[in-house]
Every structure is written in structure tokens, then in C-alpha cells.
Amino acid sequence: MTVHRPEGLSDVFMEPTEAPTSTPPTLPTLGLVGWLRWAWRQLTSMRVALLLLMLLAVAAVPGTVWPQRAQDTAKVATYISDHPTTGPWLDRLGFFDVYSSVWFSAIYLLLFVSLVGCILPRTKVHLAGVRGRPPRAPRRFARFPAQGSGSVAVSPAQAAEDSVAVLRRGWRWLPFVPTYRVDTRDEGGGTWSVSAERGYLRETGNLVFHLALVGLLISVATGQVLHYRGQAIVVQGRGFANAQVDYDTFEQGTAYSPSSLVPFTLRLDEFESRFDPETLQSRDFTAHVTLTNPGEEPTEETIKVNHPLDAGGAKVYLQGNGYAPDLTVHDAAGQIAFSGPTPFLPQDEVYTSRGVLKVPDVSGDQEQIGIVGYLLPTAQEVGEDLYRSIDPQPTDPLLVLSVWSGNLGLDTGVPQNVYELDEARMTQAIDADGTTVTLYVRPGETVDLPDGLGTLTFNGLPRYVALDLRHDPALPFVLVFALLAFAGLATSLFAPRRRLWLRFAPGGAEDTGRTVVTAAGLARGDDVGLQPELDRVLAATLAPTDDGPPAAPRGPTSGESTP
């Protein structure tokens, strides 16, 4: 279906950018400038925009097919080692960093260049259109999608004036805002014409939408440069100070300096959790914290999922929670080699949690100690020496641990994951009968470590929260541009844009003394309301000029407005 394109109306109302592509330039005479101009025209044509849009859609897909570094580095590493031939190639081609890859960026950047190249000229035309007069009536009305005619017993000038009054009338619910901008012209020979146009908002909305997308992209990019984000684990009763050293992970944009972190402190006073008693699904998590901004009194705050806390220009999100058994290890010499809470990571709905305790600072030449194991918040014995957790709440906590000794490998210079034990230079403790040693420890208990390594005391079971701290000064801009884009989009899709023309000519031989009225209408895109509106205007213009509402609907045609 092609939109009807009557003569001589190639302005912003029509599709303007197509002409250049349909005339292939003569290549030899082009020269560099010519080529550039040609390339620019291509790039800013609708056809290429369409192509780039589809490319963008296709290019976004691999990011869900292959694991992405930005989300899960470990998964990517596993994938590459599982696929030794294809893996490295996919890596080189950016399939594990799709959304920051050269090709993905190239597509959206080209798309935005195309968008700007397309929109700026249109903005200019539109501004001129808004300031100028509605376009003069075309000579012939025959090929327009909406038409009408009639005659009236007043002079052409008078009839034209009547129609202007009809067109200027506002909406029924907004009577003071005229629907149409109207322009009257004397065409000579006693003939008058009236041009009317409405719906400048439609084009305005369209331009706002596209420009807002550019604004959105720029805001997002600015945020990337100025942001920081970090994770910190805070144990009940302990504090967190907002400095880079206190973060477990910290990542910043190129223009952010960690020295400008606001030095507030945060203490986790209490953590509340609630679970459904039957399904054991989580129902509520609340962290009660004390926030101390520099130079201010401490305040009590809460952080919940969906309710982050604002602190020092950053937002603090409750991202996870768990248990951090408070443990003390005495070495063989009886010295305290380790003491403090150790966060264990929950593995399932009932908070079966895995943790690692690394004890490098043993006295003398004793071997270093590594302890690995599970915490069961509510332990139930399901077999001989076989336990599982049946409830996420700590009603009967139990630690199930195995013990290693040797060299923890902490001084090799290779950064270590605190939740993994590097077993390369360690040996696991075994019994006299050759089975591995498993320790079962309940709160308050102290057990001997095997092989005379020392003792382990389970002092208590505080909770911890995993907090995400994020600062992005561009956030309000992102939101504003997104909403602008939305508003522009809705306007451009739903505000009708129409042009109506009426011509008033002195009647010929049969109609002497009367004025022959012809009318035509044009809309942008498909507009089922066009013909009914033309009919309405025509009817009101032709109606005897009494004071009744001339906008009497004419039955059959207005019924077409809905399919």
C-alpha cells in the first residue's frame, strides 16, 4: 500500500528523504566530496535506518545465547575451556562482550548518526512550517484521498469567511484552542481558497521522540563515565566505611575518582527475614542500619529490596544476605590465629551455606590451616552423620567442616577468591582408618582440629547483608529523556495531522448567483477520520448560517471511522 502523493507537496508532510536514493549518481563525476555527500544521503535515508534497526535487533541476540562477561565472568571462562576451538574465536569476535563489542557499538552509533542526519533537516522544515502559512490549495483536487463538494447561496468571499469560522472553532471540550490554522487567499477571478492545517503536534512529537533518544544515549554514556559501583558485605554489629578499601569489589567510570567518595559510615544493627512457613519462599528482608554522614548525627534507617537507601550521593541496595559464623581458631601453640565472623554463601532456599576459613597466621613453623564446609541453619539428621537444612531460619545451626593443612598460597601474588580454597599445596586431614575427618560444631562448642593443629570455637551466628552501592549522576537525565521519548512517541502516533483545502468559485451557467465549493483533504499516514472531518467542515460551511451547532454529523460517512 503506497500513500497517496498528490502533486507539488513534497515537504515534511510527505516522506522527504527518499528522492536521492532513487536517482543513482553518475559515478565518475563524483569526486571525494560527491562520494561523501552520497554516503551521507544513503546513511540518512529511511531505508538504511530500517536496515540498521533490524541489524541492531539481530546483533542483540547473541548476548542471550552466549554467557556475557558483564554478567558472569566465571561462566564465560567455563565456556571457553569447554570449547577450546570455538571459544577463543568467539572471544576474539566479542561474543562474550556483545554489548560493548565493536560491531554492536558500530551499529547503534551509525543508527544514531543516521537519526540525527534525518531529524535535523526535518526539524528545520517543521519550524519553518510552524511559522509559515498553511500551504496554498493545489490547483486540482481530483487525486486527494478525501474530497467533497457543494454549493451555497452566498458570495465566494462570504463563504470563505464562513468556512474560516468553522475551521477556527475549537474542540468541543477545549473551545478556546483552535483546531486548525487557517489561511485565506484570493485566487483572482472572484475565486477564493482556504487552506487549513492541524496537528503540528504530531510532527513535533515525532521530533521530540527521536531527539530524546539521542539525549537518552548521551545520558547513559555520561553515566558510564561518571559512575561508580561497588559491593560490600556488612556483618551484623559491624560497620562499613565508604572508602575504596572497604569494598569487596569496586568499579568506576573513567572520570570518577575514588577519592571523592563521601566518607559516611554504615552499621548493620539488625537483619530481619521472614519466610513462608510452608514453601519456605522468602517474604521479607529488612536491614536496620545506622547511617552516619560526615559531620552529622547518626540516623537509623532501613534498607529493603525495592527500597534502596540514599547515602552520600549513592544508592545503597540490599542485594543479598546470609550467615557469617563467628569463629575463633587457636593454633597448636594456643595462640589466637583467627577470630571473627566469616560470611558463608547461601546455596539454596533453606540457606545451606558454603564457606571457607583461611588461617595463614599460625605461630612458629606450623602449617597453615584451611577449613571448608557448610552451615546448616536448621540441621536435621537424615542418616548416620548425614545432615541437611530444613529451614532458612537459625533454629538449630550446625557447621559441617573438613580441615586442610599446608600452604594456602596467599603469598604467590595471584589474587585469590576468598570463597575458594586453593588445594594445590594443601592436604586434607584423614582419620587413622583413612577416611576424611569431618567436624560437626554447634554454637558455643569448641572442637579439636585433627593432627594437633589446634582448636576451633563456634562463638555465634550473626547475619550479614550484601550491599550494592551505586552512584550515577546521570540518572535523572536518563529518566527525563526516557519519559520525553515516551510522550513524543504517544503524541506522534495518536495526534492526527490533516490538511484541508476549500475553494470557493463563482457558479457557472447553471449556478449563477451561487458559489461552488470544492474541498480536498490530506492526512499524514492512514487516517480514517479524514473524510468525516472534511464532510463535517463542508456541511457546516454550507449550512444556513444560523446559530445552531453546524457540526451536525452526517450519518453514513462518520460510521467509517471505526472498522
Binding site: 500500500m1 503506497t2 516522506e15 534502596p308 542485594q319 515516551f486 492512514d526
Partner: protein, 356 residues
Amino acid sequence: MTTGDLSTLLVWGAATAFTVALIAFSTDLARIAERAQRRVPELATAGAAPARGARPATAVSGSEEQSAPGRSVRAEGIARSTTLLGLLMLFAGIVLRGIAAGRWPTANMYEFTIVGVFVAVLVLTVVQRRRIIAFVGVLVMGMAVLALVLALNAFFIQADQVQPALQSYWLIIHVGVAITATGIFTVAFAASVLQVLKSYREEAADAPAVSVGPSGEPVAASASSAATSSARRSDRFRRVVSGRRFGWLEQVPGSRELEAMSFRLNAIAFVLWTLTLIGGAIWAEHAWGRYWGWDPKEVGTFVAWVVYAAYLHARTTRGWSGRRAAYFVFVGYAVVLANFTVVNLVVTGKHSYSGV
């Protein structure tokens, strides 16, 4: 019986009512097709090929009931009333589900599906309030029944409270809007399918008319040149569509009108989809600490959005409007469906709230 059970029962009831409506729509369609098969040769011998005009739907010549030749008034009546009955039951089922769970009922795949079906059928009813287009009815009802049965058997979980991440008013805005958009996309998709079939048929009927008629008309000229270029590829398909078996297409509104209907629905749904995207991002900012993270569901939503944006652009690009634009609708709708099914059930991401 608990409130939750009653809700499930009502949803089953709705599925049953929709099945009856589906049968009624199919009967109607079959009647029209049967009648059309008998009429086509008549027309051919009379030499009165249906003229292509602004409103081909009424262009069929003949003295029979102009508006609805062949359609079964009885079947349409049954279709209308059972659709309405099903809608009422489904609505009651949704409300009771919300009461049973003690929250807004759009938190998992089951609830998403039943509400989505409700919206789709509601839109269908609104679109068809004046004139029933049996084909669209069959397509939408078929999908509705399939979705409901799938929801009841595969996606069902007990009505319950939700986890902290979902305890937000955004569950209402973001998910509600997403469901509504999906429902509207569904009906628009059905209209586009019909548009493509119809336009092939019109083209076949048109081909001689162009060579005979005045050639100054740019519409006809571009349509026919597009036809010759793609002729070889779709020749067989066109022959099938223009054959007797698709005679019922004569009773369907013109492809131009169907395109306009599909566009209007798609435009509304696209705006709602945009709102879904923005609302999702705002919610993600609250719940996950970032507004965008290329999570699989986010990617799917983004891809669908881009495809529908391409559709809107295609409509205004010369050479891409009409049937070609409709292909974008097919792709876009496929992405929407995949975003709901594949991403929820196969891919792991932050959006794993289906409960299945």
C-alpha cells in the same frame, strides 16, 4: 473449595467457553468458504472480477445480502455470546486469583497468561463489535484456548504471596502494561496475517486490471511492479491464496483496511511496550540496583521494541509498506512470544519469576 480453586475452575470454564466460540467462529468461516467456493466460478463466467477499490469488502457484485454473503448468523451469535461468557468467567477467575493470593495477580507465568488472554479476547470483542471477521476470530480464539490450556497445565502454581523483589507497585504498572501490550499485539498479528493473505488475493485479481486500466495511478503502478519482482518467489503461494479454497477471503475487508486496523492496534501496543520498557527499567533500578543490565528478558524486550520500531519505519518507507511491513509484525510478534516462553523457561536470568 478455596478461593484459589474456584478461580482455577472459572479459568477452566472460560477455556471451555472460548473453545465453543472457536468452533462457532470456525463454522462461520467454513460456511463463508463453502459459499465462496460456489460463487467464484459464477463470478468468473459472468466476467465480473471483483473490482479493487477503496472498499473491496463490499465490492462483490450480486443481489444476495450485500454485507454478509454466506456467513452464518447463528454461528456468529453463538460466537459472540460464548466469547462474552468466557470473558466474564475469566475476569472473575482473575479477580478471585488476586484475592486468593492477597495481591495483584500478575506475578508469574500462569497469571501473566490468563490476564494476557483476557486482554486479547477483550480487544477482539471491541474490534469486532460492529462486524465479525471470522478469520481473526478463529486465529485469536485458537491462540487463546491454546494459551489457557497451556497455562492451566504447564504454568500453574498455587496462588501465593510473592518474594520481596516483586513486592512493589511496579508489579501492577510494569507487568500490567506488558500484558495489555501483548494482548493487543496478538490481535494485531492476526489482522496482519489476514492482510497478507488478502493482499495476495487482491493482487491476483488485480493483475489484469492494471494493464487494462489507466496507468497514471501511482498506487497501482508501484503495486504491480512490486508484484512482478517478487512474483517468482511467491507464485505458488499466490495461486493457492487466489484459488477457490480461499474464496472466503472475498468476504474479508480489503487489505488496506486490515493494514490500517493492524497498524492502529500495533501503534497502541507499541506505546504500551515502550512504557513496559521504561517501567521495567525504573523498577530494575529500585530492585536490582541498575536500570539496564542486558538480562535476557531485557534483551528480548529490547529486540521486540526495535523490531516494532522498524515496522513503524517500514510503513512510511516507499517500497516497504503494505505486505512487507506486515512481515515485521510477524517477526516482532514472534519475538514477543519467545520473550515470554523461551526466556522464562529455558534461559536463566534475573527474570526467573515464573515459578515453573
